[in-house]
Symmetry: C2
Subunit: 347 residues, 2 copies
């Protein structure tokens, strides 16, 4: 199939066309819950695996051995381009990403580079090229990036955060500095995503995972213009999925920032969310990943509820509300995907 | 003033009557951000301070020396009655509450007691009685409790949690057990809150702080019936404030569970939230506590935005969206309260 082949039900749903059944994939579907992956991790560090195309390709394809997924997503991390900007990044087991030189001053920001993806992160485009060959005729490939706020929050906080107090303090008390940081990240992300498209990514998902820590008014003032720059700059008509969590109170603003498909978490009913968004955009997500630790009845009940609320409306992509959790039983993930296909099969 | 004196603007707002200006208090207004409090904590453990009426009274009154608050809230912790149920509770600095015997089996649940508040937590009622005398003519006193889900989540998880996976697993995989635990907590909380009312609490706030981790459908099925039992059982027509965070996607269900005033966090505009809730209930909260680390301009801008969205509608109580943060400058908290009064003064 060609680069923008339209035969995949995932891509059809992205374009809001009719599908034979609802497409489904899972955020973090390549990763820690798979035994083969954990075995690989005994030999290689997380960053090494992200940066070695052969390893990243192998991990990206692993879940397809067990699960009937409708899309592949490049195995990588949203902080990969951030590291290339000049951030001293380490992944510490059980603690997540740690940044040893958090960005707190104007001098820190001045030192950061706007990354040329072909120089800074060439391994990403190499992995995409290999994956397109490997996946040909099997599944479309999603490229991705964090968007400026979520990336800035890691850079300023120095890692994951509970209250995002450092990031908000820069926003409130040094807005010019904050805007300079956001613009540098924006420029990096735009080049990064377009390089992924040029390498063959057939859809793009942008992650604004932590944007739900903000008030709607702060999102509008400090974040939306940068997310919009990114989403407006993705070339070639490639479908764009705009994902966040904790956004039930300002889904309208997420839509305003852009995207063909808006990601929603599990804290709002799908029909309520879609009503707020308007049916001119598609919707992805909504399944509580904790239910994969429940019985098959619990999983099926929730799938049915979400599908009923979507009502076979074109533009629905089934997914979790956030990433799959590390100890998820792989057979439950496979059951989820099969159940989505079975219950959504169009007559 | 008498027990149910209606002269306080806080109580008037609870009853949706006209007020001279918008009443304001702050969750966790008695506590760690105050230097006097930190000095006391050098001599006494957190639990000791909660359980010694003289100390709890002193801490409750401390913020009034600096800040022009419209209500006092008993200094205590939502886990106080949980400890009396038979939970081995410890507060570890910088980590929060740790439960050394988390509830995971039916045997664990059977062992828990339904607490008679006069036997299990008599110090709470003693503190309330002293506070009513001390506060007479100055401010009304709010009593409070956690509600079943948030308390159960601590008991099952063994402390704070990110994904609430243990609690959800009990919910999904052992629902009968989960319901038995919820009912035991419900019975404890109802007796506890009514004892607080009998001792003189002039309003009640129930905290369902972590209920935002759930899907709306799970809230409806596993949680709402218990919160409703609690809210329906508060005697004497005392105003009830029903608080949660991360609830923008199911505010309608929070209202269905009950309460005269619904608490909202900062992740949704106040007018949007009130529209969803309906104007037959009041609204409290909405200010992002991180803004207290911003300039006075940042604080004033947000106060003005929230007040504009409330539009002097009866039933608005100004508050933070969650508790005040430990390192908040006390003078900024005082500025917030003065600004609310100044900008909301009715002509």
């Amino acid at each position: 199939m060609g680069k923008n082949s339209g035969d995949y039900r995932f891509l059809k749903a992205c374009r809001k066309e009719e599908v034979d059944c609802t497409p489904v994939w899972m955020m973090r579907q390549a990763g820690r819950y798979l035994p083969k992956y954990r075995k690989m991790r005994e030999k290689h560090s997380f960053l090494e695996m992200c940066k070695t195309p052969e390893l990243a390709v192998e991990v990206t394809l692993q879940p397809f051995e067990l699960i009937d997924l409708d899309a592949a997503i490049l195995y990588s991390d949203i902080l990969i381009p951030v590291e290339a900007m000049g951030i001293d990044l380490e992944f510490i087991e059980s603690r997540g990403p740690v940044i040893h030189n958090p960005v707190r001053t104007l001098a820190d920001i001045k030192k950061l580079k706007v990354v040329d993806p072909y120089e800074g992160v060439p391994f990403v485009m190499e992995a995409i090229k290999i994956l397109r060959r490997e996946l040909d005729g099997k599944a479309p490939l999603i490229g991705f990036s964090g968007v400026p706020f979520t990336l800035a929050s890691y850079m300023i906080e120095g890692g994951a955060s509970k209250n995002y107090l450092e990031a908000k303090q820069m926003m409130y008390n040094a807005p010019a500095m904050f805007h300079e940081l956001m613009q540098k990240i924006t420029d990096t992300v735009i080049a990064y995503l377009n390089a992924q498209v040029d390498a063959g990514a057939q859809a793009i998902q942008v992650f604004d995972s932590w944007v739900g820590c903000l008030t709607p008014q702060d999102y509008k003032k400090y974040v939306l213009p940068y997310s919009k720059q990114v989403l407006d700059s993705i070339k070639g008509g490639v479908p764009r999925i705009h994902f966040g969590t904790g956004t039930a109170g300002f889904l309208d603003l997420l839509k305003e920032a852009g995207g063909d498909i808006i990601g929603v978490d599990w804290r709002i009913d799908l029909d309520t969310a879609w009503e707020i968004l308007g049916h001119d955009v598609g919707v992805q997500g909504n399944f509580d990943s904790s239910k994969l630790f429940g019985t098959e009845e619990i999983i099926e009940e929730s799938v049915k509820d979400i599908l009923d609320r979507a009502g076979n409306r074109p533009g629905h992509i089934f997914n979790l509300g956030h990433g799959i959790q590390p100890k998820t039983p792989p057979e439950k993930a496979a059951f989820l995907v099969d159940t989505v296909h079975r219950l959504s099969r169009r007559k």
